[in-house]
C-alpha cells in the first residue's frame, strides 16, 4: 500500500516563497484581503516560518516551510464530530468539504496550525476566476481546509498510469510546491517504496520530524545539517 510522503531539505530552502504562490495557484486558495488577514484569517496551506538566532551582527536566519504533516496519528481526525476529516488508505488526512460543519475542533487540535477556516465565501472577481483550477473545488464559507498533498495531481498520476497499464512510478506525481522550487528542496513520493527519492531522503542522518515528541508520525520529513536547538526557557 502506498504511503504518500514528502521530504523538505531545509539546507536548500532559501525562503523565496515561490512554493507558497504555486500552492495558491494550484489549489484555488482565496486571498482574504488586508482587513481579514490582520485578523489572522489568511488562508495559506503552506507557509514559511522564519527563525532568528543570535544577535546583531552574528544573526543566523532559518526558514522552514510548514504545511499539513499528513500525520499517521493525526490529532485532527478523532475530534471531528462529523467525520469530515479522515485518514485515507494512502496516508492522507483527507477532508470531505461537504461534510464539514465548521466546528474548527480540528484546527484547535492541530499542533502545526496548518488548518485554515473559510470565514466567508471565496471571492474571485471576474475574470480572476478564469484562472481557477478545474480539478480543485472552491470551498464555501464555513468550511475548514488545508494542504491535500495536491491530491488532484495524485489522482492524475494514477489515471495516467492506468491508461498506460502500469503502476505509478516514482516521480510521476509532483506537488505544486515541489515543482516550483528553484533549488529542488522538496521530494515527494511513496514512503513505502524504499527506492523512492522521498524514502532515500527520509533515511538521511539529517532527517527529523517536526515536533517529533508528539509522536504524530508525520508524513513530512525535514532534513537539516544544522542543529535546531531546544527552546530557550
Amino acid at each position: 500500500m502506498t504511503r504518500w510522503g514528502m521530504a523538505i531539505d531545509l539546507d536548500r530552502c532559501t525562503g523565496c516563497e515561490a512554493c507558497v504562490v504555486a500552492c495558491a495557484a494550484e489549489n484555488n486558495i482565496q486571498t482574504v484581503g488586508e482587513e481579514q488577514a490582520r485578523e489572522g484569517r489568511a488562508m495559506h496551506w503552506l507557509r514559511i516560518e522564519r527563525y532568528y538566532e543570535g544577535e546583531f551582527p552574528n544573526v543566523r536566519t532559518r526558514f522552514m516551510p510548514v504545511l499539513c504533516q499528513q500525520c499517521g496519528a493525526a490529532p485532527c481526525e478523532p475530534v471531528c464530530p462529523v467525520y469530515a476529516t479522515y485518514h485515507n488508505p494512502e496516508g492522507l488526512n483527507a477532508m470531505v468539504y461537504s461534510r464539514c460543519i465548521g466546528t474548527r475542533f480540528c484546527a484547535n487540535n492541530c499542533p502545526y496550525t496548518v488548518r485554515v477556516f473559510n470565514w466567508f465565501d471565496a471571492e474571485f472577481p471576474a475574470p480572476l476566476d478564469s484562472q481557477l483550477n478545474p480539478d480543485v473545488s472552491v470551498r464555501p464559507g464555513g468550511v475548514m481546509e488545508k494542504c491535500t498533498f495536491c491530491v488532484q495531481r495524485i489522482q492524475g498520476g494514477k489515471d495516467e498510469a492506468a491508461q498506460e497499464e502500469r503502476e505509478v512510478a516514482d516521480g510521476d506525481v509532483k506537488t505544486a510546491c515541489q515543482q516550483s522550487c528553484p533549488t529542488k528542496a522538496i521530494a515527494f513520493g511513496d514512503l513505502e517504496d524504499p527506492d523512492s527519492e522521498v524514502s532515500r531522503w527520509a533515511e538521511s542522518p539529517r532527517a527529523f520530524s517536526l515536533l517529533g515528541d508528539l509522536d504524530t508520525r508525520p508524513g513530512v520529513v525535514y532534513l537539516s545539517g544544522s542543529e535546531w536547538r531546544e527552546p530557550a526557557e
Partner: protein
C-alpha cells in the same frame, strides 16, 4: 403471399463491380472535399483552433517577462484559459524554477482592473474610450507637431523590443528613447567598462565556484534571475561544498542564506573591496601577473586592515578570516550588484569589487566571471538608430532646457519610480501611455493604449546574462488577448505609420523574423563578419526562410558553452586607457551625516513580494508574507533593535521618516538583523492607482529619493545613501496595524532567539 412470391416481385438491389467503384470514388471525393474545406477554414482562421477536448489540459511553452531574466515556462491551459505556470525543466535560464512574481503573471493576465480598450482624456478631464484609429491618430498628431520635443520612455529589457523603440524614435524624428531600467544595470556596465575594458554585464559561474563573495548582489531576492541563481546556489552549497559570504548593509534574503554575512556600513562596499585587496596583496599568495594587472588599475596603496574595519564597521578578525578563506579556496568568485551600485559612488565601488576577480584570477575560468554576451538582436532590429539613454536622462528631458512636450511611456511607470517628476509630467502637453494597467503614470496620461501581457503576445527575449551564453528566446501567444489589447511592438509600428514614418514591418513578429533572416544572410555571406551568428547555429538550414521557421519552431536560438568568453578587454587591463580615471573608493570621503539631527541611512530594497512594484497589483503577492519581516499587505520600516530601544519604538508603532523633500509614515518592524543607524523600506508600495489591490496600499519610499542625486559617471539615480530622520509617532490604530504573518507554531515575531520547533532528535 408466399416468401418465394415476395422475392420475385421485389426488385433486387444489385451492385456491380463498376457501380461499386463509382460509389467508392464519389465518397472518396466527398471526404477529400470535406478535408479541404476544413483545412482552408483552419488556415483562414486568425485564431488557432484548439484540438483539445473540452476540459483537457494543454501545455504551452511561454517566456516569463515579469523581469528581464527570460525564464522559460510551461502554461497549463484548459478551454483556452491559462490555469497554471510551471518552470520549463529544460529552460535555458531557470531549469524548471519559477519565482513568486513569475507565478503571479496569471493574476496580471486576468486582473479585473486591466485596461482593455484605448482611452483619451476628454473635455471633462476623464479618460473616455475611443477607437484604436482615433487614439493612434491623436498620438501621431501630437508627436508630429513636436518630434524634437518627444521623449520615448521604454521599460522593455534589452532585446528586440527595445531595439524597435530605438528604431521608432529615429523614424519619427525624436531623440533616442530613455531606457527605464534597473539602475544597477547601467552602473554595472560602467564599472565593467572601467575594469574589463568592455561595457558588459558580467556573467557569474556561481555553481562551479567554491567560494563566493557577493558584494551587495541580492541574487536570491530578485536580482537578475533569482530562479537561476537559486539553483546555482543549491549546487554551490550542496553537501557544504562551497561557501557564500554576503557583504551588504541590509540583511537581504541573500544575506539570510549566506554562510557568513558582513553588514558593512551603507556606501562602504567599495572601500571594503579595496581593503580586502590590500589584505590579499599583503599575503604573498597573489601571482605576479594578477598583482601587476590590479596595480595598473589601482596604483595607490590600498587601505590597511584597521582603516577598512573602521570605515566599514566590521570587526578586523572577520575581515582577516575572510581574506584567509579566499586565499585557501581553489575557485573563488566575487559577484557585485545591488547596493554596491546603488550609491552615488556606485561605479567606483562596483569597479573595486569587480577588480577583485582579477586579483583572484577568476576571469574567464570555470567558477569565475565571464562577459555577458548576446546575439545582438536589439541592435539588429534597431538598425542605425542611436543607443537608448540611461534613466537619469529623463530628468534632463523633463526639466532641462528644450523640455519634452510629448511623452510616450511604454511598459514603464516612471512616476512611481521617481514621484518627484509629478509636476514635470503635468507640464507636458501630451502623455501617451502604453500599459495594461492604470499605474501611477498611466492614470495621469492623456492617451492610454492597452497592451498585452506576457501570455497574450508573441515574445522575443534576449535573457539577462546569467550564464555567459548568448540566447534569443522566442514564443508564440499562449492565450487570446483580452479586449482590444495589442502587442507594444505592434503599437509602436502602428504609431510610426500613423505619424507618416512607417517602418518596414507590419508587426513585431515580422520585425523579429526579418532580423533573423538578415542574420542568416549575413552569416552565409561572411561567417566572420560583425553581423554574423555563430556558424553552427545556421548549419542545416537551406535558406533564410527555413532558418527563421526552424528558429521560431524551436523556441529561439541558444548558444553553446564554447561561446562563453572572458570580457574582451581583460587581457589589456590598464592599457589603452581602460584604467584611466578609475576613481579609488578608498580615497573618497565618508558620507557626512547632517549635524544636530540623529539621522539614519535609508535603504530602499526590493522584497520578493512586490519586486520593483510591478507585483503590487496581485492579491497573491500582497497577501504573501515577506520572508524576513513576515509582513503582508503594505509597507514597513525595518528598524534595528538597538535603535528601537533608544527611540522607544516597538514593532507595529507608526514611525515617520523625514527626508529633504518628503516624509512618509508607516509601521516599524523591529528586527535583530538591521544594522544600527540604517532603516530599510521596501519599494513597490503606495501606488496612486494600479488597480484595487494596490491602490493606496502602503507608502512609496521612492518619494524620499532626490532626482538630483546621481551615480557618478553612469546616468542613473542613486537609490541608497539618502539620510532620513526617524521618529516615533504613536501606537497604531486598528486599521494601521501591520499585518504580520506567523500563524506559528507560535507567532513568528515572538519566537525567542534560539527557539526550535522540534524535539532536537533525529528521526
Amino acid at each position: 403471399m408466399s416468401d418465394s412470391d415476395r422475392q420475385r416481385r421485389e426488385p433486387r438491389v444489385t451492385i456491380g463491380r463498376r457501380d461499386f467503384f463509382k460509389v467508392y470514388a464519389a465518397a472518396g471525393v466527398a471526404v477529400l472535399q470535406g478535408c479541404r474545406r476544413r483545412d482552408e477554414e483552419l488556415i483562414a482562421s486568425p485564431v488557432r483552433r484548439s484540438t483539445a477536448l473540452p476540459g483537457a489540459s494543454v501545455w504551452r511553452r511561454s517566456i516569463c517577462e515579469q523581469c528581464g531574466a527570460g525564464c522559460e515556462v510551461e502554461v497549463r491551459t484548459v478551454d483556452r484559459l491559462a490555469k497554471k505556470i510551471e518552470g520549463l525543466p529544460e529552460g535555458f535560464v531557470n531549469r524548471g524554477g519559477v519565482c513568486a512574481l513569475g507565478h503571479s503573471a496569471l493574476q496580471e493576465l486576468y486582473h479585473p482592473d486591466r485596461v482593455t480598450e484605448p482611452m483619451r482624456r476628454g473635455a471633462s478631464g476623464e479618460l473616455e474610450p475611443v477607437s484604436w484609429e482615433e487614439a493612434l491618430e491623436a498620438a501621431a498628431t501630437a508627436i508630429g507637431a513636436a518630434p524634437d520635443a518627444t521623449t520615448v520612455v521604454a521599460g522593455a529589457p534589452s532585446g528586440p523590443l527595445l531595439g524597435l523603440w530605438r528604431r521608432f524614435a529615429t523614424a519619427v524624428g525624436a531623440p533616442p528613447p530613455v531606457h527605464w531600467q534597473q539602475a544597477d544595470a547601467v552602473v554595472e556596465r560602467e564599472a565593467a567598462r572601467a575594469v574589463f575594458g568592455e561595457s558588459t554585464r558580467p556573467a557569474y559561474d556561481l555553481a562551479r565556484a567554491d567560494y563566493v563573495l557577493s558584494i551587495g548582489a541580492p541574487f536570491l531576492d530578485g536580482w537578475r534571475s533569482p530562479a537561476h541563481f537559486a539553483g546555482s546556489w543549491a549546487e554551490l552549497t550542496a553537501d557544504r561544498r562551497g561557501k557564500l559570504v554576503q557583504i551588504e548593509a541590509r540583511h537581504s534574503l541573500t544575506a539570510a542564506n549566506a554562510d557568513d554575512w558582513l553588514p558593512v556600513r551603507p556606501g562602504s562596499e567599495g572601500f571594503f573591496a579595496r581593503g580586502l585587496a590590500g589584505l590579499l596583496l599583503g599575503s604573498g599568495t597573489v601571482g605576479e601577473e594578477e598583482r601587476a594587472a590590479y596595480e595598473r588599475l589601482y596604483p595607490e596603496a590600498p587601505p590597511d586592515l584597521a582603516a577598512t574595519a573602521e570605515r566599514c564597521g566590521i570587526d578586523q578578525t572577520r575581515i582577516e578570516r575572510l581574506g584567509a578563506e579566499l586565499q585557501r579556496s581553489r575557485r573563488p568568485l566575487v559577484m557585485v550588484g545591488g547596493s554596491a551600485f546603488d550609491g552615488e559612488n556606485g561605479v567606483a565601488a562596483g569597479a573595486a569589487g569587480l577588480a577583485l576577480n582579477r586579483l583572484l584570477g577568476a576571469i574567464g575560468r570555470e567558477g569565475g566571471v565571464f562577459a555577458g554576451v548576446d546575439f545582438g538582436f536589439e541592435d539588429r532590429v534597431a538598425g542605425d538608430a542611436e543607443p537608448a539613454m540611461p534613466p537619469a536622462t529623463l530628468a534632463d528631458r523633463l526639466i532641462g532646457a528644450g523640455r519634452a512636450s510629448v511623452l510616450v511611456v511604454a511598459e514603464a511607470d516612471p512616476l512611481h519610480g521617481m514621484p518627484e517628476f509629478k509636476a514635470a509630467f503635468e507640464g507636458a502637453a501630451t502623455v501617451v501611455a502604453l500599459s495594461a494597467f492604470f499605474d501611477d503614470t498611466t492614470s495621469r496620461a492623456d492617451l492610454v493604449l492597452p497592451i498585452q501581457t506576457d501570455l497574450e503576445r508573441f515574445q522575443a527575449v534576449e535573457p539577462d546574462p546569467v550564464r555567459g551564453i548568448p540566447a534569443l528566446l522566442v514564443a508564440s501567444p499562449t492565450v487570446a488577448p483580452r479586449g482590444e489589447a495589442r502587442h507594444p511592438g505592434d503599437v509602436a509600428l502602428a504609431l510610426a505609420a500613423a505619424a507618416g514614418s512607417a517602418l518596414p514591418w507590419p508587426g513585431f513578429q515580422e520585425a523579429v523574423e526579418a532580423s533573423l533572416s538578415d542574420a542568416y544572410t549575413a552569416t552565409r555571406a561572411d561567417a566572420e563578419g560583425a553581423d554574423a551568428l555563430p556558424a553552427s547555429l545556421i548549419a542545416g538550414a537551406l535558406n533564410a526562410r527555413q532558418f527563421v521557421r526552424r528558429t521560431t519552431d524551436a523556441g529561439g536560438l541558444v548558444g553553446t558553452a564554447e561561446m562563453r568568453r572572458a570580457p574582451a578587454g581583460s587581457a589589456q587591463v590598464g592599457e589603452g586607457g581602460t584604467a584611466a580615471g578609475l576613481p579609488d573608493p578608498a580615497a573618497m570621503p565618508a558620507p557626512a551625516a547632517p549635524e544636530g539631527v540623529e539621522s539614519f541611512t535609508l535603504i530602499p530594497f526590493e522584497s520578493v513580494k512586490l519586486g520593483d512594484g510591478r507585483g503590487a497589483n496581485r492579491p497573491w503577492l500582497q497577501e504573501l508574507p515577506d520572508p524576513l519581516s513576515t509582513v503582508m499587505w503594505g509597507s514597513w520600516a525595518e528598524v534595528a533593535t538597538e535603535d528601537a530601544d533608544r527611540l522607544g519604538v516597538r514593532t507595529g508603532d507608526i514611525v515617520r521618516l523625514t527626508g529633504t523633500a518628503a516624509e512618509i509614515e508607516l509601521p516599524a518592524i523591529v528586527l535583530p538583523t538591521v544594522r544600527p543607524g540604517s532603516v530599510g523600506v521596501p519599494v513597490g508600495g503606495g501606488h496612486a492607482d494600479y488597480g484595487r489591490y494596490a491602490r493606496g496600499r502602503g507608502v512609496n519610499v521612492n518619494s524620499l529619493l532626490d532626482p538630483d542625486r546621481r551615480v557618478a559617471g553612469a546616468g542613473a539615480y542613486a537609490r541608497s545613501g539618502v539620510r532620513v530622520r526617524v521618529e516615533r509617532l504613536r501606537r497604531p490604530r486598528r486599521a494601521e496595524r501591520p499585518v504580520i504573518y506567523g500563524r506559528g507554531l507560535r507567532q513568528a515575531e515572538e519566537i525567542p532567539v534560539g527557539w526550535a520547533p522540534h524535539g532536537g532528535e533525529k528521526a
